[in-house]
Each structure stands twice: as structure tokens, then as C-alpha cells.
């Protein structure tokens, strides 16, 4: 009963935050954005704080997190004196990206002002986009990510004010990857809402890296939501690297709408974090669209990582392929829910999914829930899930060749992880992540204090 | 027995057969040769009635009946047998059960009494001995886990069981070692009679050392471009298919 009461009070408290700060939250934003806040609130109140009673959150109970927090909300951007772009001097020649800095959910105008983009590519504050590009943005905002399906999405839409907006025009191939660095930095415990929209036009191509970082030891909750529209034949690679300290809760949602012939690659690499929940929904809504969806999580101590995917095959001849792996140490827990839904007219669908997990201790725990929901007969679908340990035979084989047990284990774990890393198509990035993972498995990266680029060097 | 007139067929929207004419009479052995992609397997599958192949023009009669009016199983029961290039595996369905059903369907079609289990087993033993098929194969599921050679031998064994009027052997020699090739050919030769006919679809001349054809046809780009006696196969072997292309002025 106690947690039911908590839930109710948390929902009430959060609802109250919206009511009490409404003028601050809505200020300057167009009516069509603000109009969605009330339906979002209603949806949130209906669904409540997700916990183990919510089927989709069975393995990630957020009632305690929300029950206990009374964190500061940044309804206006925090003012930092330093120019963060100097701190994150990322012009390492061998790893060249367009850098986009976001601080506590707000697009950092100061650091980003000097960046220019080729061929009409637009990167700007989502707040500005909502105001300046209303006609375009309103086609997608809260449409790709409807408020009534998921409580965290409802929550994000209630409070959304800023984030990143990216528009790649038709036929533009932007060769240099875009890199969004999300920084959490606060003197007191902070709750962050960030909202992003990415529109890739017809036949465009874009590579995007998203790095999440905490710069200070305070507690953070980051509710980050990204809507992505892929036009006909668009190609988008999205890599996220989550490397946050253990008091951070990262609750992220990515909603992708794919048109005919578009190709999506996502790869979520989780190196560190306290509570991590990644929701990913992909609508294959045009023929011959494809999605390759991967994730790797390395967790220890009391970390919790839960990846939830929902791939909807709406049109015929699409292909989706999912590969998620977890290595769990100490008392960490992992969750995976992978849902493939093939709708009645989506014939000639090929949909595959695999989830492999290794538990390193008896205290670690893995819960996995792969699901197939198939509503027509002309499909090829499969899923597989394993939970196990390092292969004894392989371990023995390596030892028999003179490799000590510790090193042999590391080699095998790295080999296990590498299958996911191999799906990173930016070669330099792959090398960097490879090194990071290797260091992580050796326990050499315990927390990323500075920026990703430091790790990369 | 089989009369093909001006046959055109498509697969996945692509024209493969472009005006085939061929007549096969009882007692004859025809070899259809040609380079890869010339339409040999398509012809075999069109005759058997595979739904992936769309006939766009022409006619085929078998024993005077229009075969396009018949579903694939009726064509089979009329006596048309296809030895598949890649026999499919059917897990869990025993060879015995499969063949007994097939044999009795044929018998019912001819208004003959169905075989009892005992008679069927006897027939199977006879035919197995005749085509020298390993008796263990029939205890397994249809083609499941069979080697390439075993699958082809199994096709010939089924042919022996069903005693077709017209047997179309689609690349039956591919993937066979010399021993298997000999066994398969012996089987075919043994089953040959003045009342039935055989069409050998093959890329190589090798099979024709064992099964001597009465006619050899060269299929090229969906049409029969050359027909002659068995000596044509040897000529092809010696000169290669480029020779045909040259002759056609390409």
C-alpha cells in the first residue's frame, strides 16, 4: 500500500509542478506547443509513475526514484560563465565532428554560435525551431511520439521547452558526423527535460553521435526525448554513448518514423549510469525501409540498464534487425524488452532480434522479454535470447594456450561485446568505442569526469 | 505425349522463356542443355506448375490435355514427374508416410485400389533394391539431413515408385560424385520403356555418357536455338557454349 500512496503523491506533486510553473514553462512558446501540455498531463495522470505493475516497465521500477526526488527544475537556462566549447575543444583532427552542446537540457547558444553547417543543414535550439519553424515542426512534434502511449513521453511533453533541432534538407549528404554532447552540471540535484527533433529529408544522409555526460557529483534525472523523421531513402546512423555517474537516472525515448526505402542504424552503448532506461520505437511506414538496432550495456555496482524496443512493421517488404547485449557485474540488473509487431498488411517482412547476456556474479540479475506479435503470414521472424556465463570450453582453450584466466576472461568478454561494436559504421568512432569498452571491462574507466573527447584521446 | 507450342513465361516480372517449341513422344529421351540462366529450370518448373512462374503465352498439352488447366498435383497424377534440382526438406514428415500418400493418390486417380500397408512396404523394398537406395533413407523425414547425392537418389527412387509417363530430370547430375551418378543413371535407364519419356535438363555433357539421349536441344536466352542428335552434346562439350553464341552471331 505504501508505494501506491507514494505513487499517487508523486503524480500529484509532479502535476502540481506543471500548474505552478506553467507561465514560466509556456513563456515565449507558440500556442500549439503549449496546448499539448494538458493532454500530456492527463495521459501522465492516467498512466502514473511507471513501476513493475506497468507491463512495459515490469523490470524498471521508477516509483522509488520519482517518489523520493524533489529536485530543482531548470525552467530557464542556467547561466555558466565559461564557454563550454572551450572546455570541450573537440577539434581532434582524426575525429572530426560538428559539435553541438546541450547543458541541462538547454541548447547552449553561447558555445554553439560559431558552428556553421554546409548545404542548408539547420542545427539550432529546438525552442527557436518551435517558434521560427512552426510550420515544419508542428507536423512532427508529439505526433511521432504520442503522449498517450508512455508515461515518460507524457512527462517530457508536459515540461518540454528546449533541446536540439536538426534539419537535413532533401538530397543533402552531410559527411562530417554531428555530435550532440548533453552535459549535466548543477550545484544542486537537478531534474532535466530535453526535447529534440531530427528531420532527414528525402534521400539525405546523416550520422549522429549523442554523448551523455555528468560533470558534477549531484543527482540527476534526465528525461530526454527525440523524435526522428526519415524521409524517403534517407539514411541515418545514430550512435549514443551513455557515460554518466551512478547517481544519474537517464530516461530516454527515441521515436523514429521511417518512409519508403529509408535506412536507420541505432547503436546505444552504455558504459556507465545509475538507472538507465532507453525506449526506442521505430515505425517502418514505407516499403523497403530497414532498421538495424543495437545496444551494448556494461554494468556493475548497483547500476540498472533496461532497453525497451518496439519495432512496428506497418508496410510490406521492410526489414528490422535487433542485437542487444549486456554484461552484468556486481549487483547490477539488466532488462531487455524487444517487441516486434508485424501488422496485417506488412507482408514480406523480415524481422530478427537477438539478446545475449552474461552474468558475472550471483548477485547480478538479468530479465529479458523478447516478444513477437505477428499478424500476417508472409513473414520471416525470429528472436533468440540467452542468459549465461563465459563459455567454459573457450576459457579453457585460451588458458591451455598460456593465457592467464583473468586475461582470458577479458578477451572473451571483449569478443562478446565486439559483435555489437562491429555495427558502428564510423570507423574512427568504432575504434574509440572499442578502446573505451576494453578499458571499461578492465575497470580502468570507472567514471567519466571530463568529456568524451578525453576518453577518446 | 508432350507438345509445347510457342511458350513464354515470366518470373518476378522478368521474361525468361521466349517462345519454346518442343515435342516429346513416348519412348524418347530428350536432353535440354544450355548455359546458366538460359531458362532450363524455368521450363521444368513451368511444366510442373510452380506458382512463381507466370505463363504469358503459348500452350502445352500432355497426353492431349491442356496442362495449364491442371493443378500441380493433377499434372503429377497424369504422369508428369519432376526430379527437383534442389529437393526441399520437409521436417517431421516421414518418407514412408509421404510416399504412401503419393502412391495411393496416384492409384485413386486411376481408379485403382489403394495399397495396403503391407503391399506398399513390399513395393518399396522392390524399388529400393532396383535403384540401389540406402534403405535407411526411407526411415527419415523427407529429404531432411540428406546429402546432395542422397537427395538426388531419393528423387530417382520416388520416380521408380510413381512410374511416371514423363520424367523431367532437372540438373539431376549436379553435385553427384561418379558412384552416385552411376546409380542415378542406372535407375533412370532401368525405368525407361517404350511407353514413357524422359527430359534431361543439364548443363554438362557428363550425364549423357550414362543416359544416351535421342535428341539434344540447346536452350539459349529462353529459346531452343539448336536441336540435333546425341552428337550435339559432344560438340558442345568440346567447343563450349560460346560456340553457340558465335553461331547466333553474337
Amino acid at each position: 500500500m505504501a508505494d501506491v500512496l507514494e505513487k499517487i503523491s508523486a503524480v500529484q506533486r509532479i502535476s502540481g509542478l506543471l500548474d505552478n510553473n506553467l507561465s514560466k514553462i509556456e513563456e515565449g512558446l507558440p500556442a500549439w506547443v503549449n496546448q499539448i501540455r494538458q493532454p500530456a498531463l492527463k495521459a501522465f495522470q492516467r498512466m502514473g509513475i511507471p513501476g513493475f505493475r506497468t507491463e512495459n516497465y515490469k523490470y524498471t521500477d521508477l516509483t522509488r526514484l520519482f517518489g523520493n526526488e524533489n529536485f530543482r527544475r531548470a525552467y530557464v537556462p542556467d547561466d555558466f560563465e565559461v564557454d563550454l566549447s572551450e572546455v570541450f575543444s573537440c577539434d581532434v583532427p582524426e575525429f572530426d565532428t560538428h559539435l553541438i552542446l546541450v547543458v541541462n537540457g538547454w541548447y547552449d547558444e553561447k558555445s554553439n554560435r560559431n558552428t556553421t553547417y554546409p548545404d542548408g543543414v539547420v542545427v539550432k535550439s529546438f525552442r527557436r525551431a518551435m517558434i521560427e519553424n512552426s510550420d515544419l515542426v508542428m507536423n512532427y512534434y508529439a505526433k511521432l511520439a504520442p503522449v498517450n502511449e508512455d508515461p515518460l513521453t507524457a512527462l517530457n511533453t508536459m515540461f518540454s521547452q528546449d533541446g536540439v533541432f536538426i534539419h537535413i534538407p532533401d538530397h543533402v549528404h552531410i559527411s562530417k558526423p554531428l555530435q550532440i554532447i548533453n552535459i549535466l552540471r548543477s550545484e544542486d540535484d537537478l531534474y532535466v527535460t530535453q526535447r529534440n527533433l531530427i528531420i532527414a529529408g528525402k534521400n539525405s544522409q546523416v550520422k549522429l553521435m549523442i554523448c551523455d555526460h555528468t560533470l558534477m557529483p549531484q543527482q540527476f534525472i534526465n528525461n530526454n526525448l527525440t523524435e526522428i523523421q526519415l524521409g524517403q531513402d534517407a539514411v541515418a546512423d545514430i550512435y549514443s554513448i551513455q557515460n554518466q555517474h551512478n547517481k544519474t537516472a537517464s530516461l530516454s525515448g527515441i521515436y523514429v518514423h521511417q518512409e519508403q526505402g529509408s535506412q536507420l542504424v541505432t547503436n546505444a552503448i552504455t558504459l556507465h549510469g545509475g538507472i538507465i532506461r532507453n525506449n526506442l520505437k521505430v515505425l517502418l511506414d514505407g516499403e523497403y525501409a530497414s532498421a538495424k538496432i543495437c545496444g551494448l550495456a556494461l554494468s556493475d555496482k548497483n547500476q540498472h540498464v533496461d532497453n525497451y524496443t518496439n519495432i512496428e512493421h506497418i508496410k510490406p517488404n521492410c526489414e528490422s534487425n535487433q542485437l542487444y547485449k549486456n554484461i552484468l557485474d556486481d549487483n547490477s540488473t539488466g532488462g531487455f524488452t524487444g517487441r516486434i509487431h508485424v501488422l496485417p498488411y506488412a507482408v514480406k517482412t523480415a524481422a530478427y532480434q537477438r539478446n545475449n547476456n552474461v552474468l558475472l556474479t550471483n548477485a547480478a540479475r538479468m530479465n529479458t522479454k523478447p516478444q513477437l506479435v505477428i499478424d500476417n503470414d508472409d513473414v520471416k521472424c525470429s528472436h533468440g535470447a540467452t542468459v549465461g556465463r563465459i563459455n567454459d570450453e573457450a576459457l579453457f582453450y585460451l588458458q591451455a594456450r598460456g593465457i592467464n584466466e583473468k586475461e582470458a576472461r577479458l578477451m572473451l568478454m571483449f569478443a562478446f561485446a565486439h559483435e555489437v561494436l562491429a555495427e558502428v559504421k564510423i570507423e574512427k568512432l568504432r575504434d574509440v568505442i572499442d578502446k573505451l569498452v576494453n578499458k571499461r571491462l578492465r575497470g580502468e574507466v570507472s567514471k567519466c569526469h571530463s568529456c568524451a573527447m578525453d576518453c577518446i584521446r | 505425349m508432350l507438345v509445347i507450342k510457342d511458350l513464354y513465361a515470366k518470373v518476378e516480372g522478368k521474361d525468361i522463356l521466349k517462345g519454346i517449341n518442343l515435342t516429346v513422344n513416348a519412348g524418347e529421351v530428350h536432353a535440354i542443355m544450355g548455359p546458366n540462366g538460359s531458362g532450363k529450370s524455368t521450363l521444368a518448373n513451368v511444366l510442373a506448375g510452380h506458382s512463381n512462374f507466370e505463363v504469358t503465352h503459348g500452350s502445352v498439352t500432355f497426353n492431349g490435355k491442356d496442362i495449364f488447366e491442371m493443378s500441380p498435383d493433377v499434372r503429377a497424377k497424369e504422369g508428369l514427374f519432376l526430379s527437383f534440382q534442389y529437393p526441399v526438406e520437409i521436417p517431421g514428415v516421414s518418407m514412408v508416410n509421404f510416399l504412401k500418400t503419393a502412391v495411393n493418390e496416384h492409384r485413386k486417380y486411376r481408379n485403382e485400389k489403394e495399397l495396403s500397408a503391407g503391399d506398399f512396404l513390399k513395393l518399396m523394398r522392390e524399388k529400393k533394391a532396383m535403384v540401389q537406395i540406402d534403405s535407411q533413407l526411407t526411415n527419415r523425414s523427407v529429404n531432411e539431413g540428406f546429402s546432395g547425392g542422397e537427395k538426388k537418389k531419393n528423387e530417382i527412387f520416388q520416380m521408380a515408385m510413381l512410374e511416371p509417363k514423363l520424367a523431367i530430370l532437372d540438373e539431376t547430375d549436379s553435385g553427384l560424385d561418379i558412384d552416385a551418378l552411376r546409380i542415378v543413371s542406372n535407375g533412370v535407364n532401368m525405368l525407361k520403356s517404350k511407353d514413357n519419356a524422359t527430359i534431361l535438363v543439364t548443363h554438362y555433357q557428363r550425364l549423357l555418357d550414362y543416359i544416351v539421349p535421342d535428341f539434344v536441344h540447346v536452350l539459349y536466352e529462353g529459346r531452343i536455338v539448336k536441336s540435333a542428335g546425341k552428337e550435339l552434346a559432344l560438340e558442345l562439350e568440346a567447343k563450349g557454349y560460346d560456340w553457340i553464341k558465335k553461331e547466333l552471331g553474337e
Binding site: 506479435v373 505477428i374 | 500418400t101 520416388q158
Partner: protein, 498 residues
């Protein structure tokens, strides 16, 4: 239910299967549910509806001891606080529990000395069901406990079994003659508060079967029960309890039919299995309740709770099931692997056609060390049906070296049906290995063409391929059931192929 009873186990099984395959093919033309006849037997029913009074009446009619009434009332009070589960991939119309008759027994309840005394109409029913009791007695070596509308009518072969100390009787009889065993084990595997339907069953169950196999005893024959729902508006709530003492073995079969009726009928059974040290229990079901007509009218709502506990060291429980019937099936035969080194298997074929809905699977709960479980599930969906596998594999932290392998395949016939797979895997220690695989695919067109080319019609080819696909599971069934299952698969698919 027409079971082919094999006479003399060593006679050539092969020949029998062959003959049967033939019959099977001939029967393809038969299009209707074959078991839809109504027996004209006088039935003793109580008024519709459910309240404490009804439960007291049921208990009194059955002359039950006080502890049984207590058990029922406790369950009923618990049930009142519970809600119908909604998590399954099922659309269940609302059930009016006040419109159901919770008890119906054939009126002639006297126990018969010989078959001659049995109501001839009832015997005819059995004949139609394909259970010629008399013949069986002489020939089959299968002891049958036939339950019609929840009351056990006649048990054969009791004497032979009694010589070995084996108890195989109706549940009511067991309550009378072996109350100690009932009191000790009833509700152990399925507690009254386990779920909504288990609570309902615990409150109102009318009869069922009871089996006790003493220490070190191998049951010499297969024990079999047939369930049949007959009277109109009756719910059937049978209760089965099987106890296999140390080092014993038993194979138990359960078959089901129901007459065709326009309205839906409720069936909510509970089966409990207790396997003690090194005991082995094999439980096989061919479920063929009336599935409703082609348009989804009528049919049985089948909400069943089945659970076994591997209580002892190295005990074994095997669930084998072929499910072709019911309008709605909600059923998860489960195992709790408590004892170290215990073994459990779940082998299932579930076929749905027309507007049938099935949400079925298993739970394997690993608690003991070195425990091993295997799940093989073959779903076949046709028509407009929906067929879901739902399974849980849970490995406790203490269950070192636990192993599970699950294979869940779905085969789709037709573009209007659905096949769904919902496995839950929860692993809490690092020495266990859990593997799950699932595939969904359409029936192979190449396979159908291959059969066609050998002269086999498409409908027969599909029957053959589906049976081949399910072979792995069918082979786990006792012989006579395997034949039955094959037929059912073929018949249930009739008309599903355009």
C-alpha cells in the same frame, strides 16, 4: 473422442500409423465438429448463480468433510476480492457468473458393480466418444475415469491398480476414502489465491480425478480421464490431483470434448501434480473442447491452471499437450523445480482456426540446484485466429547450474491470423545457462509444391506438413494419443486453406 486403442503394445505401431494416416486423409471431407452431440441423460443440477449458499449445497451434495467446505469458502471469499486477469493476448467477453450452473451431475449416482448397471444412454455417449468401456476393459489396458459434467461416472481397472496400492478414483471418492492425502496435498501446487480462475475452481469444483502412486511403484498402465461438458449453461470445474511418491512412475492422459452449443460455456479446471523424490509424472492432454463455429459463435472458454511441483531430489514432471479446441484457451501448465537435480519438460502443440484465441505456454521456476527444464512450443494459426505463446523461465539465485532451453515456433496459415510470442526470462545467478529461440514463419510454399508434384493435393499436403512440424511434440505423447492428435490437427485445419 475416437481414440485408436492399440491392442498389444508390441504390435507394429508403424502399420497402425500407416492405416490411420489413410483414414485421416479420408476424413478431410468431414467438415463439422465431430463431437457435437448432446447426450440425453437426466442431469441433477442446482440453480444458476454463485454465492456461499451454492457452495454449501455443492459441498453438502457431495457429503464432504468440514475441511473441504472450509477450503471452498475460503477460496470463494478470496475470489470475490480478485479481478479477472487481463494481461493475456485475448479478447474475452464478459462472463456472467450468476448465469452459470455450478453443479450438474448425472442423476444415477449409485456406484456400479458392472457396466451393465450403467445408464445405457451414458454408455452410448461413451461409444460416441470412442471409449468403449467394455472393450477397453478386455483389450486396452487403459484404465479410464470418465467425467461427464464434472462427476466421475465409472472407473475401470480399479482392482488391478488397487493390488499395487495405486489409487485412481474420482476426486469425490478420494475425499471420502483418503481425506488425509487430500488434506495434505490439495492446494499445495495451486494455492486458492493463485489466480482468479484457480480461486473460482477451488470454491466450486464438482469432481475430477485423484491419483496416488505409492513409493517405488511403477504404474503398469496409462491412466486416463475423459472430460465432457454436457448440460446447458453449466460450467465445468474439475479438479485433478496426482501424487507420485518416492521412486514411482505414472503416465496420465486427459481428453476433453463438449457438445456444440451456440452460447459459450465456461471451463475452469485445476490440475495439481506433486512429484516426490525421484518420482516421474507424465501428463498428456489432448484438448478438443468445442471451438465454436466458423463465425466464432459458441465454444468453450477454457481457463485452466495446471501446475506441478518437483518436490524431491531428481523428480521429473513432463507436460505434453495438443490443444485444438476451445473458443478461448488460457492455460500455462507449469513446474516448480524445488528439488535439486529435478527435471521438467513442457511440450505443446496449439492449433487455432476460425476465430479461436489461445494464450498458452508455461512457467518453469528453478529453485533447486542443477535443475533442468525444456520447453518446446509449436503454435499453428489459421483463419482469423490468434495464437500466443506466453512463458516464464525464472532462475532463483540459489538455483546454481540451472539449465533451460526453450524453442517456440509459430506457423502461420493465411493472412488474417496472428501468432505471438511473449517469453519472460528472469535469471538471478551466474552459473546458469538459459537459451530461448523463437521463429515465426509461413507454411513453406516449396514444401507444398513438392508434395503437389508427387500427386498430393494442397489440403493434404498442408495437413502432412503441419503434422510434420508438430512431430517433435506428438512423439512425446503416448501412442494412442499421438494418433488422436494427428487426426485432430488435420481435422481442425479443414477449410482453413483457400
Amino acid at each position: 473422442m475416437s481414440v485408436l486403442f492399440v491392442t498389444g503394445i508390441n504390435s507394429s505401431y508403424f502399420e497402425i500409423i500407416m492405416e490411420d494416416q489413410n483414414k485421416l486423409l479420408n476424413e478431410v471431407t468431414q467438415r463439422d465438429y465431430r463431437f457435437g452431440f448432446v447426450s440425453d441423460i437426466e442431469t441433477d443440477t442446482i440453480v444458476k448463480g454463485l454465492n456461499e449458499e451454492v457452495i454449501r449445497i455443492i459441498s453438502a451434495k457431495k457429503d464432504e468433510p468440514e475441511f473441504m467446505l472450509e477450503f471452498r469458502l475460503k477460496a470463494y471469499r478470496r475470489w470475490l476480492t480478485m479481478k479477472m486477469p487481463e494481461w493475456a493476448q485475448l479478447k474475452v467477453p464478459e462472463i456472467d457468473y450468476q448465469d452459470i450452473i455450478f453443479y450438474a451431475a448425472p442423476t444415477q449416482q449409485a456406484k456400479y458393480e458392472s457396466l451393465n448397471e450403467v445408464d445405457p444412454e451414458l454408455l452410448r455417449t461413451f461409444e460416441k466418444l470412442g471409449i468403449p468401456l467394455e472393450e477397453q476393459k478386455m483389450l486396452s489396458g487403459v484404465a479410464v475415469d470418465a467425467v461427464i459434467d464434472s462427476v466421475s461416472v465409472k472407473t475401470t481397472f480399479k482392482e488391478t491398480l488397487a493390488e499395487r496400492g495405486i489409487i485412481f478414483c474420482s476426486f469425490s471418492e478420494a475425499v471420502k476414502h483418503h481425506p488425509d492425502l487430500i488434506q495434505k496435498y490439495l492446494g499445495m501446487a495451486v494455492p486458492i489465491n493463485d489466480n482468479y480462475f484457480a480461486a473460482l475452481n477451488s470454491a466450486v469444483f464438482s469432481d475430477g480425478s485423484f491419483v496416488y502412486i505409492p513409493k517405488g511403484t511403477r504404474c503398469p498402465m496409462e491412466l486416463s480421464t475423459y472430460f465432457r461438458i454436457n448440460a446447458q449453461n453449466t460450467g465445468q470445474f474439475e479438479r485433478t490431483l496426482i501424487i507420485a511418491d518416492d521412486d514411482s512412475y505414472v503416465s496420465y492422459l486427459e481428453g476433453c470434448t463438449a457438445p456444440m452449443r451456440d452460447e459459450n460455456q465456461l471451463h475452469a479446471a485445476v490440475v495439481e501434480i506433486i512429484a516426490l523424490n525421484r518420482a516421474e509424472v507424465k501428463y498428456s492432454t489432448v484438448q478438443n473442447w468445442y471451438p465454436g463455429d466458423k463465425n466464432g459463435k459458441g465454444g468453450i472458454f477454457n481457463f485452466v491452471t495446471k501446475r506441478g511441483i518437483c518436490m524431491g531430489i531428481a523428480s521429473k514432471i513432463f507436460w505434453n499437450q495438443v490443444e485444438t479446441g476451445s473458443a478461448i484457451t488460457w492455460k500455462y501448465p507449469s513446474c516448480v523445480l524445488m528439488g535439486d537435480n529435478s527435471v521438467a519438460e513442457f511440450n505443446s502443440v496449439a492449433l487455432t482456426n476460425n476465430y479461436q484465441q489461445a494464450d498458452t505456454g508455461t512457467k518453469m521456476i528453478h529453485i533447486g540446484k542443477n535443475t533442468k527444464s525444456t520447453i518446446v512450443s509449436k503454435g499453428i494459426s489459421a483463419g482469423h485466429s490468434s495464437n500466443s505463446y506466453r512463458g516464464l523461465v525464472r532462475v532463483a539465485a540459489k538455483a546454481e547450474n540451472a539449465r533451460n532451453y526453450s524453442q517456440c515456433d509459430s506457423l502461420l496459415l493465411g493472412d488474417s491470423c496472428g501468432a505471438h510470442t511473449f517469453p519472460y526470462i528472469e535469471v538471478g545467478n551466474s552459473s546458469s545457462i538459459i537459451e530461448h529461440e523463437a521463429t515465426t514463419s509461413k507454411i513453406g510454399e516449396d514444401q507444398i509444391f513438392y508434395c503437389n508434384q508427387r500427386g498430393i493435393s494442397t489440403e493434404d499436403a498442408i495437413g502432412m506438413i503441419v503434422n510434420g512440424y508438430a512431430r517433435e511434440v506428438i512423439n512425446k505423447l503416448p501412442m494412442e494419443f499421438a494418433v488422436e492428435a494427428q487426426k485432430l490437427l488435420q481435422i481442425s485445419l479443414e477449410g482453413s486453406v483457400g
